[in-house]
C-alpha cells in the first residue's frame, strides 16, 4: 500500500464526509444501545404520562364537615350551597368536637361552622361562617377557602334574587381568568413538562453519552484522524438535536390530543424557540461532559445544574417574582426560565411579540455563548 494522497478532495467535501460519518455512527449507537433508548424515549414517555395524568393542582371533591349549630330552613339554605357545589363533598354534623376528630384523622379537609345565633341573625344582623381548613398544604387550603367564599357568595346571590337583601359586599369582585378560562392546571403543567423533556434529552442524555465516549477510550482513536473538534461536536449535536425535536413533537401531540391543551400561538414559533433551547441544553451537556470526562460525575452535575433548576426555579410551577431576591437574580442565568415564559405564552396566549422577542433573544444569546464555550473546552487532548 502506497501512502495515499488524501488531499485530493476538496477540504469542504472531506469535512462534510467526516461529519456525515460521525452522525451515522452516533445514530447507530443511539438505536442499538438500550440505555440511550431508556433515557431518550422511555423516560420522556413516563414524564408525559405522569404530568398529564398524575399531576394536578386542581382541587375537586373537597371533603368538608358542615355544622349547623341550630338547623333552620334559612340556614339550611345557606349551607345547601356546599351540598350542591361540585367542588365539595359535604357531610352534615351537629357537633364541633366530632368534626374536629374527623379533621385530625384526615377524613375531612375542612369544617364549615355556621354559628348558632345564625337563625336569629339572619333577619337582622351579620351571619358568621367559620371556615376551618387544614393548613398543612397551604396551596390546597387557600383553594378550599376560595371555594367556600364562592359557595357562600352564590347563596347570597340566590337570596338577593329571591328578594331578600343580602350583602356580601358592598364591593364585589368580578374576576376573569384570561388564557385559562377552564382553570385547568394542566394548561401550565404540560408546557412545563416540555421543558423537562427537552432538558432531559438535550443536557442529561448528551452529557452521559459524551462522557461515556471519553471513558471508553473511543475518542482517543478518532482523535488521531483528520477530524476536527467542531466536527466531533457536530457529530453529537445533530443526532441529539433530532432526537430532541422528536421528543418535542411527541409532547406537542400529547398536549394537544391527549390533554387538550390549546396551542394558540404559531407552531413555527414554538418549534423555533424550542430549537434555541435545545441548542442551549445540548451545549451545557457537552460542556459538562468535556470537563468531567466521567459518566457518574457528569450525570450528577447535569442533574444539579439543569434538571432541578428547570423544575424548581424556571417559573412554571412556582412564581419567580415571589422568590427572595438572591434566588430571583439567580434565575436570570437559567435558560429554562426564558423557555417557560415562551412556552406558556405561545401555548395559552398566542404570538405576543412583547414576550416572545426578549425571551427568544436571551435564549439565542445563551446558545451562541455556550456553543463557543463548548468549542473552547473540548480539545483533542487526553490530559
Amino acid at each position: 500500500m502506497t501512502p495515499a494522497d488524501n488531499t485530493k478532495d476538496n477540504p469542504l467535501v472531506a469535512k462534510a464526509r467526516r461529519i456525515k460519518a460521525l452522525v451515522k455512527k452516533e445514530v447507530r449507537e443511539m438505536v442499538r444501545d438500550p440505555s440511550s433508548i431508556a433515557m431518550g424515549v422511555v423516560l420522556p414517555v413516563i414524564l408525559i404520562l405522569l404530568f398529564g395524568y398524575g399531576l394536578s393542582l386542581d382541587v375537586t371533591n373537597v371533603k368538608v364537615a358542615v355544622i349547623l349549630e341550630a338547623p333552620s330552613p334559612d340556614v339550611t339554605e345557606l349551607v345547601s350551597g356546599f351540598q350542591i357545589s361540585p367542588y365539595f363533598d359535604a357531610q352534615f354534623l351537629t357537633s364541633m368536637p366530632r368534626a374536629q376528630e374527623l379533621m385530625l384523622n384526615r377524613e375531612v379537609d375542612g369544617i364549615v361552622l355556621v354559628r348558632s345565633d345564625a337563625a336569629r341573625n339572619l333577619a337582622i344582623e351579620d351571619v358568621q361562617v367559620q371556615v376551618v381548613v387544614n393548613g398543612t398544604d397551604a396551596n390546597h387550603a387557600r383553594i378550599v377557602q376560595g371555594y367556600a367564599q364562592g359557595a357562600i357568595g352564590q347563596w347570597a346571590a340566590r337570596r338577593a334574587a329571591e328578594g331578600h337583601t343580602v350583602n356580601v359586599g358592598p364591593v364585589t369582585v368580578d374576576d376573569r381568568l384570561w388564557f385559562n378560562e377552564a382553570n385547568d392546571s394542566h394548561y401550565f403543567l404540560v408546557p412545563g413538562l416540555i421543558v423537562l423533556v427537552m432538558t432531559l434529552i438535550g443536557a442529561f442524555l448528551t452529557a452521559m453519552v459524551m462522557a461515556r465516549e471519553w471513558e471508553r477510550g473511543t475518542l482517543e482513536a478518532i482523535f488521531v484522524t483528520p477530524v476536527r473538534v467542531d466536527e466531533i461536536l457536530l457529530g453529537k449535536i445533530i443526532p441529539y438535536f433530532a432526537q430532541g425535536m422528536v421528543g418535542l413533537v411527541l409532547c406537542l401531540f400529547a398536549a394537544k390530543f391527549l390533554f387538550h391543551v390549546p396551542i394558540r400561538g404559531s407552531v413555527w414559533l414554538l418549534a423555533g424557540t424550542s430549537m434555541l433551547y435545545l441548542l442551549v441544553a445540548l451545549s451545557i451537556g457537552l460542556v459538562i461532559s468535556s470537563l468531567t470526562k466521567n459518566q457518574f460525575v457528569a450525570s450528577q452535575v447535569t442533574l444539579l445544574v439543569t434538571f432541578l433548576p428547570a423544575m424548581m426555579l424556571s417559573g412554571f410551577l412556582f412564581d419567580i417574582r415571589s422568590m427572595p431576591t438572591p434566588v430571583r437574580l439567580l434565575t436570570y442565568a437559567l435558560p429554562a426560565r426564558y423557555y417557560v415564559a415562551l412556552l406558556q405564552t405561545l401555548f395559552l396566549a398566542g404570538d405576543v411579540w412583547g414576550v416572545v422577542l426578549p425571551n427568544a433573544a436571551a435564549l439565542a444569546g445563551m446558545a451562541i455563548a455556550l456553543l463557543l464555550l463548548t468549542r473552547l473546552v473540548t480539545q483533542k487532548k487526553l490530559a
Binding site: 501512502p3 472531506a14 455512527k25 482523535f223 483528520p226
Partner: protein
Amino acid sequence: MSTPVLVGRDIHKTFRRGTGETVQALDGVSIQADRGTLTALVGPDGAGKTTLIRLACGLMTADKGELKVLDIEVAADPQQIQSRVGYMPQRFGLYEDLTVQENLNLYADLHGVAGEEREKRYPQLMEMTALGPFKDWLAGRLSGGMQQKLGLACALVLAPELLVLDEPTVGVDPLSRRELWEIILKLVNQQSLSVLLSTSYMDEAERCGHVVVLYNGKVLAQGRPEEVSKLAVGRTFLADPPAGQKARGLQARFLDDPNVTDAVPEGGQVRLVRKDAAVTVAGMVPTQARFEDGFMVLLRQAVGERAVSGSMKVDHPPAGHDGEVVVEVRDLVRMFGKFTAVDHVSFDVRRGEIFGLLGPNGAGKTTTFRMLCGLLTVTGGTLKVAGADLRRAGASARRRIGYVAQKFSLYGQLSVAENLGFFASAYGLRGGRKRQRIEWALQQFELKSLARLPSGQLPGGFKQRLAMATALLHEPETLFLDEPTSGADPLARREFWRRITALAEQGVTVIITTHFMEEAEYCDRVAIMDAGRILAQGTPAEIRQRAKSEPGRHATMEDAFIAIVEESRRREPADKARAGGAA
C-alpha cells in the same frame, strides 16, 4: 539517508492523579525511530510507553523537551500528524455497537479515503486480517484477536506513513499474537512501513529492528535488540535441578543468592544470569543470552541492589499428606444461555501442588475458577474443594480457602492496615489472634512502613502483595489466584513466584490461572484450556513434548500451546470467533 520518523529529546511529562499525587511518567526521555523500521518501546506497565505514544500522536503535550514526528513539531501542529499517522490505542478504539464494516467505513470516511481508493484498499485489508466473512458482525462480539485485527485494519485504512500501535498484543491468545506479528512484519518488510509499537513481551521485542527499553519513565537502553542481549553474554547459564528437586525450588535458591541477577525456570531447567562472568560452576552450562536476560540486567541495575524478597513463613502448615486429592472436578459444564463456556472439564489437584490453568482470554478458565470458588453455579458435573461444594458450603469450608481476584480487589480508600483488619474480621479472626496475624502480614510482605497509606495509592507491586496478604491472613489450606501477575513488571513477578514456591513447599495447595505461558514452568501440573475444553493436561514437560520444535531452539510452552490449539481446531472447525462474554 532518510530522516527518522520520530525524534524526541529530553521529554518530561508529569500527571496529577485523581488521588492528588503527581506521577512522573516520563523523565528526560530521548529516543529516535527510523523510517522503514519496526521500533519497539519495551518495558513493564507504568514505564511510560503509553504516555510516550500519546505524546507522539499529539494527544498530550509534553511539559518539557522536543518531539518531532514525520519532521513536524508535535506541539506546534498536532493535527498534521493526526492526519498522517495510523493509530491503534490500547483498547483497540472500536465502537462495539457497530459492525466490522461500519467501523471500517467510519475510519475510512474520517481519513477521507473514498471512492476508487476505498474499493482498492478494502479487499487488501480484508484479506490481510481474514475478517471478510465477519463483515456484518458487531465489533463487540468478536474475539479478542479479531478485534485486534480490526483495530489494525482501521489504522491502516489510510495507508499511513507511520503506524503507531499501543500494546497491540496484550491479553490476546498466543495464536492471534503470532498472526498479528506476521502481518506487521510483512508490512515492514514488503512495504517499508515505519512502525512504532509498545509491548511488554520480551520475545516480541527480540523481533524488532530497534528497541527502546523504558522503566519508570527513563530510557535504560536503546538500539538493536542484540545490543541489549549482549549485556548478558557470558553470564547466562542453564542449570539442572538435582534429582528429586523441582526446577522452581532451584530457581528460588538462586534468587536468594546475591550473586545472581536473575533466575527463571525454563524447560525443566533453570536459566540464570549471574553478576560476574568468569565463574564456571559445576552443573551450570553456559547458554546463549536472550533479550529478556539483558533486560533483567538493565532492570536490576535500575532498581538497585536488593535481593528479591519473598520467602514466606507459614505459621501453621496445613495438615494432611502429599498426594491427597484436594480439588476434584468431574465433567464440569457451564452454559450461559446457549453458549457453552465450560465444556466437560475434569481434573484433580493434590495437596502441596501448584496447578495452573492456562489459556487465552475467553477460554473458560476464569469461569471454571469462579465455579471452584463458589461464585458461580454449576450447570453440570461435580466439583469438590477440600471435600465440599463451595457454592453451598458454609463459613467453615470457606475459611479453608484463600482467593485473590484478577484486579486485586482491594478497597482503595482504606489504608493497608484497614484492609487487612476488614478481611481478618471477615474470616472471623478476633482479638489477639487478629492482631498477631496482621502483624505477620505486615512483616512478611514488607508493608509495615506503608500501613497507613490508602491502598489505592500503593505502587503496583505492593498492591499485589497486599492482595496476597489479605488472602493468607486466615491461613488457608488452598489458595486460588486468578491472573495474579497481569500487569506486574518482571521483578515483581519473580518475587511473587518466589512466595508461591515457598508456600507450596510448606504444604499449601495453589491453583492459579494465567495467560503467560512461561509461568506454566513454575507449576507442577498444568491444564491447557481453549474454547471451554481442556486440550491437554500434565506436567510442563509432558506438555512441551507436544510442541513442534524448530532445530536449535528449545520448544517453549507457547509453541506447545499453539501446536495443541492448532491441532484441536483442525479436528473440530468450530467458529473461530466466539462471542465475548465468559472468560
